[in-house]
């Protein structure tokens, strides 16, 4: 044993520091399947409470869909529970390749490779396709998993201001001498719910001979007219060199992710991406569930259409009530409160009203940009949204933020 009190106290102090900074994360135990209505135990040991969930990534309401659950059951019966292997030894079943084919077709790319998660896809993709002679140029607000992948890669890394196309072009010019250039962005940015300008980015990348990578985790399945993603919305299907995405959000919500794109780039990942090479294959039960999700999405756009209507209804209701929202047209609708403590108190008061929505503050979002991030689902009915709006209005009145400007809220609560 080498864990004396001296070592223990180092960690205890660090944990105290996290608590003192108000950054300590506590889990809330959910006793029901993921859905619009859930039963929650919070704080630990408290009686169960039925609340409306406004903070899951279950955008299409498929996480507990009976057809998906049945397909997973069937997959469990026909292909077993686990594979006890990485993909390239003895972990690839026919259904893994089938899902790769389905994703390629759905995303409009050339090939696809599954990963245990999109975090793994993002962690592995850059080192697999770039070297120290190359440069990665990323939006300053990309997801943490992209940042970690970038850190693991030997290529030079630079950034451009969020969605600032003039700045991106300056960077493409600055690094013109590099062997390969890759521009990196989220499709939909998870904290603000805004969409990357992929049409302009494709044009810039073509002009400067750069590749474009898009993490479409908060878009796959519902953004664009048929839900293919941000590239469909921006009219650039077939022009994105690499799309990474997750099955852990709209596409069933269990786990897993993929790299999809140019054939050679995907093959390089198959040969070199370490999370693919050294991590277990996705469980057959999950693959079976995602295959059913893809079947549902290919048959009808009903769910993404309902989601779009729900999100517009929610946005309109909050705006009419006098809340300040981040502009956008995705199901991620941030309600701006600016002050960190206010966002936490507001979230707690919402919970007391039967609404589960989380407050985000620095360092997850920039200083002075604290908010309640609400996420709408096709699983919500109008009655859920009306009930949630009533709760938001009640809590908004309690904290006197309705109809107030940003400056007025900051004057009341500080930054």
């Amino acid at each position: 044993m080498a864990y004396p009190e001296k070592i223990r106290s180092i960690y205890q102090e660090q944990l105290k520091g996290i608590q003192a900074a108000g950054l300590f994360k506590e889990e809330r135990y959910i006793h029901s399947p993921q859905a619009a209505d859930i039963e929650v135990e919070f704080p630990a040991g408290a009686p169960l409470r039925k609340v409306i969930n406004l903070c899951s990534n279950n955008y299409l309401g498929l996480s507990s869909h009976p057809d998906v659950v049945k397909a997973a059951h069937d997959g469990l019966e026909s292909r077993g529970y686990g594979m006890s292997s990485v993909r390239f030894i003895c972990g690839t079943q026919d259904i893994h390749r089938e899902l790769e084919r389905r994703m390629t077709e759905f995303l409009g790319t050339e090939d696809t490779l599954l990963f245990p998660s999109c975090m793994d896809a993002n962690a592995g993709v850059f080192e697999a396709v770039l070297t120290k002679d190359d440069v990665m140029i990323s939006d300053r607000l990309v997801h943490a998993s992209l940042i970690d992948g970038i850190r693991l890669c030997s290529a030079m890394h630079d950034t451009y201001k969020h969605s600032d196309m003039a700045h991106l072009e300056e960077k493409l010019q600055l690094h013109a001498d590099k062997r390969l250039k890759m521009v990196i962005t989220d499709g939909v940015f998870s904290m603000d719910g805004d969409t990357a300008k992929l049409d302009e980015m494709v044009a810039l990348c073509e002009k400067h001979g750069a590749m474009l990578l898009v993490d479409d985790s908060h878009a796959s399945g519902f953004i664009g007219k048929t839900g293919r993603g941000t590239h469909e919305k921006c009219g650039v299907m077939g022009k994105i060199d690499i799309i990474t995405t997750t099955f852990g959000k709209a596409l069933g919500g269990a786990s897993g992710g993929c790299v999809s794109g140019r054939r050679e780039l995907v093959e390089m990942c198959r040969q070199r991406a370490r999370p693919y090479l050294f991590s277990n294959t996705i469980a057959p039960v999950v693959v079976s569930g995602v295959l059913k999700v893809m079947e549902i999405l290919s048959a009808s756009t009903e769910r993404r259409d309902k989601l779009e209507k729900n999100a517009a209804y929610w946005r309109k209701g909050l705006t009419a009530a006098g809340f300040i929202l981040k502009e956008g047209d995705t199901p991620i609708v941030p309600v701006m409160l600016f002050n960190a403590k206010l966002s936490q108190d507001f979230s707690r008061a919402l919970y007391d009203e039967g609404i589960y929505a989380i407050g985000f503050f620095f360092p997850v979002v920039p200083q002075g940009q604290a908010r309640i991030r609400t996420q709408i689902s096709a699983g919500h009915e109008i009655r859920h949204l009306d009930q949630a709006l009533d709760a938001f209005v009640k809590v908004g009145k309690k904290f006197d933020v309705l109809g107030k400007t940003k400056q007025e809220i900051i004057e009341m609560y500080g930054i």
């Binding site: 940042i147 030079m156 890394h157 630079d158 950034t159 201001k161 960077k171 600055l174 690094h175």
Partner: protein, 84 residues
Amino acid sequence: MDDLKDSILQYVTKEYLEDGSEPIGYETPLISGGIVDSFSMVSLKRFLENKYDIRIPDDKATPEAFDSVTKIAALVEEFVRKKG
């Protein structure tokens, strides 16, 4: 030296500060103050190399050496002198 400092200050302001941010000075801590992250140092290094026609080795481009406009200017002067 002040021209050099002003040129660096102007670049850092344009490159890293958001609109409406507090203005920075020659001694404002850039890296340790969270204004420039270690990722974004790359563009600053490349800007200096291109503008002053110098090559700053990676082992000299440390977060400490890039932590203020004054320190960066001293580093640039050192390499301009060596070149001359």
